[in-house]
């Protein structure tokens, strides 16, 4: 184990928390889809990457800053995934949950190969002036982009939480999640709710991809890694629990950063997954201990 420098440790923990919160945005949609549609969406990572590519080309061709491009990327992600649900996933849904899972697996492979075909296999990265700046809080220096990304992620998660808990769409969504048959009997258009949820997931995941690409690099093959991270976050936060997902992101970020700080980066994922297993044994419904917020 390495020697401990309190300032360095504080930098690492706070940076990890901010980064985890930032990454949580990419997982919120997956949590919704799991909660409402009972669908394990294996193309989720590719939608995250799609968002990163959308922002990359918006910046390259039209000079639009990645942060300003977030609403456009949300619309693009929504518009791309809406027909996928309506014309591909909805028809196979009647064949059981496995059919949807396998279909999204196939779509993930197709999307990854389309990215390679159209965007090349090169590593890409998004850049803004904020990506190179730090904010000093006493002796602690925090990356500005982490703070901005954290704030955006928190704002969007709160907005989604409001949508789910305070609107008629949210009531329909929660009803469809709990008991789709009863929801349909009382007049809720369940298939439309499923469509809306999947498209909302598309928009949110795409925005999450932009934030991730501002901090790291990405390639057409990055999707599987983002999918794994998103799964870990929503399991930590509790399936279908929106603010739990946000907190789960922070928790995973802190746990992994501590693991990397004390044991080296080779143990970042290992420590994260071990802690995930321990936490699940203690709190199987997630760290906020609520079964579901939907």
């Amino acid at each position: 184990m390495n020697s401990i420098d309190p300032v360095g440790l504080a930098n690492t923990v706070l940076g990890g928390a901010l980064l985890g919160g930032l990454i949580a945005l990419s997982a919120v949609g997956l949590s919704l889809v799991l909660g409402v549609m009972k669908l394990v969406n294996l193309m989720h990572g590719q939608i995250v990457v799609l968002g990163a590519y959308a922002a990359f080309y918006l910046a390259a061709f039209w000079g639009i800053s990645p942060l300003l491009a977030l609403p456009i990327v949300f619309v693009l992600g929504f518009a791309f995934t809406a027909p996928v649900e309506k014309f591909i996933l909805a028809p196979v849904a009647k064949h059981g949950e496995e059919a949807g899972l396998l279909t999204t697996f196939a779509l993930a492979i197709i999307l990854e190969n389309l990215f390679i075909r159209f965007f090349s296999g090169d590593s890409r990265s998004l850049d803004t002036a904020f990506s190179r700046e730090t904010i000093a809080i006493g002796p602690i220096n925090l990356p500005t982009i982490y703070l901005i990304g954290f704030a955006i992620s928190l704002t969007v998660c709160l907005a989604v939480w409001m949508l789910v808990t305070r609107t008629s769409f949210g009531r329909s969504l929660r009803a469809s999640s709990e008991d789709p048959i009863s929801a349909a009997i009382v007049g809720i258009h369940v298939s439309r709710v499923r469509w809306g949820t999947f498209a909302l997931n598309g928009g949110l995941a795409s925005m999450g991809g932009v934030l991730i690409a501002l901090c790291f690099s990405f390639t057409p093959s990055s999707g599987s890694e983002y999918l794994l991270t998103a799964f870990a976050i929503i399991v930590l936060g509790g399936l279908g629990n929106i603010m739990g997902t946000f907190v789960g992101g922070i928790a995973l970020g802190v746990i992994q950063s501590l693991g990397a700080y004390f044991f080296g980066d080779g143990y970042r994922t290992f420590v994260g997954l071990v802690m995930l297993i321990i936490l699940l044994a203690i709190a199987p419904n997630g760290i906020l201990k609520r079964r579901r917020s939907l």
Binding site: N2, D5, G8, N11, T12, G15, G16, L19, E112, N113, I116, S120, G121, D122, S123, R124, S125, D127, S131, R132, E133, T134, N141, P143, T144, I145, Y146, C215, F216, S217, F218, T219, P220, S221, S222, E225, Q256, S257, A260, Y261, G264, D265, G266, R268, T269
Partner: protein
């Protein structure tokens, strides 16, 4: 039968047209002593290359280098085999930067495509699995893009060959570059390296020893998984160490993320050396001016004056509109070495081709190529530094194409 007869007639017709075209254009097949004859049966060469995945930054250059060499040979009339001019047919398969994909694709190239010889992919992770399969099945395999010590350490090779630099030379180069350019630092280095075969070799074994020999102190050494994305804890440790120099060995996505995260936490070491990952031009494209000042081991620049080097660069840049990479030189050279050996053998007998590869002794676009007893041909290392999106040679000083940029801006 009817179809077969038609095919034979078609083949005969094509052979006649090819022979006439060759005679009219004055092209001469490799290995031709004068009279030529034709056959529709091509010489089959195969390779897997990383066109997608984490090593895709190398794949497009290998693809171009291999294809350009084959196109040149075919334009010259192909290769004489048993008195017959044969065209070369190149089959390239995307290995997705996955060693398992390399193994299965090489097996398929041997068993289904019936290749006569193979070329390599890029980095030890992808070259070595393919070389092992080719060696076991007795198919000549010429690779580049994998440091020779790592290649030699796998096994005693019979059919596999490697043309590349020595990782020991690569490790020394940045220290020599600092010394030769009179760069003053606190002589402390921090090592960040991945857990791939070459990352472990240079990060765990070679850099620490070389640094000490050169009078530097290793302030820290962190190993990380090759596909790691978040390096903030490692960078924080490096920053805390107070080292002026950071030595990095990683794949390209990781190298990009490390530099971005250094900037994000507001830390710029005076010297950054980033081996392997900082080589492809996509590294500089992704980072923009953040790439400026980063040193990376190199082995080729058109200014070195090897035969065909300038033409190779010009051909690449005019055909693709992209900035050239040194990987066009080693991939082109590997393909030419293999095809020269096939021509020298004058046969598609794999043992004869293999013997001819071992006899190679010539100067190619990448430099002199002569294999040692362990099937490796070493090419000299230089140090380059990214400046305004262009790799500038900064050591040896007599080969320098620009001034050393210090400290990293």
């Amino acid at each position: 039968m009817h179809l077969s007869t038609r095919r034979r007639r078609l083949a005969g017709g094509l052979a006649f047209i090819t022979a006439t075209a060759l005679a009219l254009t004055g092209c001469s097949p490799i290995g031709a002593d004068g009279e030529t004859s034709d056959s529709s049966e091509p010489i089959r060469i195969g390779a897997t290359i990383p066109l997608s995945g984490t090593l895709a930054g190398f794949g497009s250059f290998l693809q171009w280098g291999y294809q350009h060499a084959v196109d040149e040979v075919n334009a010259a009339g192909g290769i004489m085999i048993d008195g017959t001019a044969r065209e070369v047919e190149l089959t390239l398969v995307d290995d997705k930067s996955d060693p398992n994909e390399v193994t299965s694709s090489i097996k398929t190239l041997i068993s289904s495509t019936n290749v006569d010889a193979l070329l390599g992919s890029c980095t030890p992770d992808l070259v070595n699995p393919g070389a092992v399969v080719a060696d076991a099945q007795g198919v000549p395999f010429v690779a580049e893009c994998t440091p020779i010590e790592v290649f030699k350490s796998v096994k005693e090779w019979t059919y596999a060959w490697d043309i590349f630099f020595s990782v020991a030379d690569q490790a020394v180069a940045p220290f020599e570059a600092l010394e030769a350019n009179g760069i003053e630092t606190n002589k402390q280095v921090f090592i960040l390296h991945d857990n791939g075969p070459d990352g472990q070799a240079i990060g765990n074994e070679i850099w620490p020893v070389v640094a000490e020999e050169q009078g530097y102190t290793v302030a820290g050494n962190i190993e990380f998984p090759a596909d790691n994305t978040d390096f903030s804890a490692a960078i924080q440790k490096a920053k805390e160490s107070g080292a002026d120099i950071v030595l990095i060995s990683s794949i390209t996505p990781a190298a990009i993320s490390i530099r971005k995260q250094m900037a994000a936490i507001g830390w710029t070491p005076k010297v950054i050396v980033a081996e392997k990952g900082a080589e492809p031009v996509q590294f500089a494209e992704a980072l923009g001016d953040l790439a400026d000042g980063i040193i990376v081991g190199a082995y080729w620049d058109p200014s070195f004056g090897y035969p065909g080097a300038e033409e190779l660069k010009d051909a690449f840049e005019s055909e693709t509109g992209l900035t050239s990479s040194q990987h066009i030189a080693d991939s082109y050279t590997a393909a030419m070495v293999l095809m020269d050996a096939i021509a020298a053998a004058g046969s598609l007998d794999k043992d004869e081709i293999n013997d001819a590869i071992g006899e190679t002794d010539g100067i190619y676009a990448v430099g002199p190529v002569k294999f040692d007893d362990e099937h490796a041909a070493k090419i000299p290392v230089v140090s380059s530094q990214w400046q305004d999106g262009v790799p500038i040679i900064v050591w040896p000083t007599d080969q320098a194409t620009g001034d050393f940029l210090f400290p990293v801006p």
